[in-house]
């Protein structure tokens, strides 16, 4: 079965210099993206970043103001949505409420005037894969959220699409079910070998599903990278705080490889800061890259605010003398430092090579407002 399915080959997608404006509002600007056949890509960004516009352009519901959309190298901007052979899964699933599960999955095949017996066999196969075979006669309103999502995916895959677009597919599911469905749907998409694009504002969803993540902000691509690379080597201040949790500490470059933190110590980056002396910078340190230390030069003094146990890890938040919040994540297994709210404590960076350094945005410097994440 899997052998037969993997013959269904996903198409490759190229976006070249896509731009789109709604009146005077620029929704997308200079978007270049290449997606390989069979790849699973996440479009990640806060609401209003342009990710939905991008999805609608790829789907064919929207014609871009400028730029090229290519499927397997051929331009498709002029091809309407109903002839692009794209499977779509909507945020609210958009199952047809007046049609049974069977009729929903058969819809695309009927629209293509497929023979009846072929439709029956195909729908049965799709519902089997989605573990929904016994629900064929039900109406969508009689299904749970997870079941509706399975049907929506079966309906999208039934037309043998070259590309599947999923718009915030997990946001309507409760948290416990979400991870299970993410794993299930990822494996189903991979089994089909179909090229897939997931639009989401949830970084955990993007990190757990995608081969590569495209981070969008204000209509532009900030970074395209694997989940690990995005987490370890964020290309911008925006990404370092958008992907996972991080601590942002302000400072000033004092030497090629040294930064004087506003919060106290001078730290040795162990590599070039690649900025001139005197440049205001913000360093990003992940909570798990900070440990409690003894009072010594180079340690950051903080006042403990609170400790929050989060199951496998325990997160403690402290405040520096400059008012910057610093979170420390400790694995419970390795034993926890005993600190209480109001205590003074000293923090150290475990691995300086995993610290990211960014120029502080100019408007932030002038305001010199504190930032916490």
């Amino acid at each position: 079965m899997e052998q037969a399915l993997s013959d269904v080959r996903g198409l490759s997608l190229d976006l070249k210099d896509i731009g789109h404006a709604f009146g005077a509002t620029v929704a997308l600007d200079r978007i270049d993206l290449t997606v390989a056949a069979g790849e699973l890509i996440a479009l990640l960004g806060p609401s209003g970043c342009g990710k939905t516009t991008m999805l609608q352009i790829i789907a064919g519901f929207l014609r871009p103001s400028r730029g090229e959309v290519r499927f397997d190298g051929a331009r498709v901007e002029h091809i309407p949505a109903n002839r692009r052979r794209i499977g779509m899964v909507f945020q609210n699933y958009a199952l047809f409420p007046h049609l049974t599960v069977f009729e929903n999955v058969a819809y695309g095949l009927r629209a293509r005037k497929t023979a009846k017996d072929v439709i029956a066999a195909k729908v049965e196969q799709m519902l089997g894969l989605a573990q929904m075979a016994s629900f064929a006669r039900r109406l969508p309103g009689e299904l749970s959220g997870g079941q509706q999502q399975r049907v929506a995916l079966a309906r999208a895959l039934a037309i043998d699409p070259g590309l599947v677009l999923l718009d915030e597919p997990f946001s309507a599911l409760d948290k416990n079910l979400r991870l299970d469905m993410q794993i299930e749907i990822k494996s189903l998409l991979k089994t089909f070998g179909v090229t897939s694009i997931i639009v989401t504002h949830d970084q955990e969803e993007a990190l757990s599903m995608a081969d590569r993540i495209v981070v969008l902000n204000k209509g532009r691509i900030e970074q395209i990278d694997s989940p690990d690379a995005l987490y370890d080597r964020p290309a911008s201040l925006f990404i370092s705080s958008f992907i996972g949790h991080t601590n942002l500490l302000r400072g000033t470059v004092t030497d090629t490889d040294r930064v004087q933190l506003d919060a106290g110590p001078e730290i040795d980056l162990g590599r070039s800061a690649q900025r001139r002396r005197g440049t205001p910078v913000t360093i990003s340190v992940r909570p798990e890259n900070i440990t409690f230390d003894a009072e010594r030069p180079g340690a950051i003094p903080v006042t403990i605010r609170a400790t929050v146990p989060l199951g496998a890890v325990s997160v403690t938040e402290g405040v520096t003398a400059t008012g910057e919040a610093v979170k420390v994540s400790q694995a419970r297994a390795s034993g926890l430092a005993k600190v209480q709210a109001g205590d003074m404590a000293w923090l150290a960076i475990s691995d300086v090579s995993r610290v990211s350094i960014f120029s502080t945005p100019v408007d932030d410097v002038s305001k010199h407002q504190q930032r916490s994440v």
Binding site: P80, A81, N82, R83, F90, N92, H98, L99, A111, G141
Partner: protein, 274 residues
């Protein structure tokens, strides 16, 4: 409970009591109120002319409802696809007939359809027609006038249910390869059916009972239930027969309305009833 007493009293005095009186009157055998019997009902159902009047009237309601339905969907689709300004304009145009009195609207149609009316004058002076056409006092003219007058009753519920339709459903259908026509027939139409049925019931009942428009635009030669009842009550002074006619007509219209309501609740799946 207390605040509804005035309304209940009004309902009792203006609707229930006259209805009871109507039932009582219809049970007399002669116009002089002699002898209780079902004679008036027997008379109606054994008289092909009377039955023809009833079926014509119900058919008029059906035709007008169908005509408004056919007009309402394109209007609703345009409305749904329009911007705010256009929507306001369309709403105003739809509501306009409701803002003028029935008599005024009906006379406007007489001015349009008459022998020396606007349509005839225009067509003759353009040379498109050789002789004035008979538009007024025809069945078609009556259907036309009623359709325009009743259109808001259909358009508003249809627009309402179209606006409540999730745009992702039509997008999903299109994405699955359906043509515009297929999306309309398989998705939009069934999912806005509650609105269409609500409109159908309103238009059907309103058109079948539209005494003024039927009489003025249809003229004296087209006899329908409202004018038949009027003629029997005021002209012939046969109150028992006209009471029976009234009750038969009322039951026929409400019976059809309830039957369609019940059928739609049973067969419209997965859609909230309007």
């Amino acid at each position: 409970m207390l605040p509804v007493i005035p309304l209940a009293a009004l309902f009792l005095a203006a609707f229930v009591l006259p209805l009871i009186a109507l039932v009582a009157i219809s049970l007399f055998r002669t116009p002089q109120f002699a002898e209780l019997s079902l004679a008036q009902y027997l008379r109606f159902f054994s008289d092909p002319f009377s039955i023809k009047v009833l079926t014509d009237t119900l058919w008029l309601g059906t035709e007008v409802a169908l005509a408004t339905l056919v007009l309402a969907y394109p209007l609703a689709l345009v409305y749904a696809a329009s911007g705010q300004l256009m929507r306001t304009l369309i709403t105003f145009l739809i509501m306009l007939p409701l803002l003028t009195s029935t008599v005024v609207r009906t006379f406007a149609w007489i001015v349009l359809l008459g022998r020396d009316g606007i349509i005839n004058t225009a067509m003759l002076s353009l040379g498109l027609w050789q002789a004035p056409a008979r538009l007024l006092y025809t069945w078609e003219g009556m259907v036309l006038a009623l359709t325009q007058i009743q259109l808001p009753l259909m358009a508003l519920p249809v627009i309402n249910s179209l606006l409540r339709l999730d745009g992702n459903l039509t997008r999903a259908a299109e994405g699955l390869g359906a043509s515009r026509a297929r999306v309309f027939i398989t998705i939009i139409l069934p999912l806005t059916l509650p609105g269409a049925i609500a409109g159908w019931l309103l238009v059907f009942a309103a058109a079948a009972t539209a005494f003024i428009t039927q009489t003025l635009v249809g003229g004296g030669r087209i006899i329908l239930m409202p004018s038949y009842i009027y003629q029997q009550a005021v002209g012939v002074q046969d109150w028992p027969f006209s009471a029976a006619l009234s009750l038969i007509f009322t039951l026929a219209v409400t019976g059809i309305v309830f039957a369609i309501g019940a059928l739609s609740r049973r067969y419209v799946r997965g859609v909230d009833a309007a």
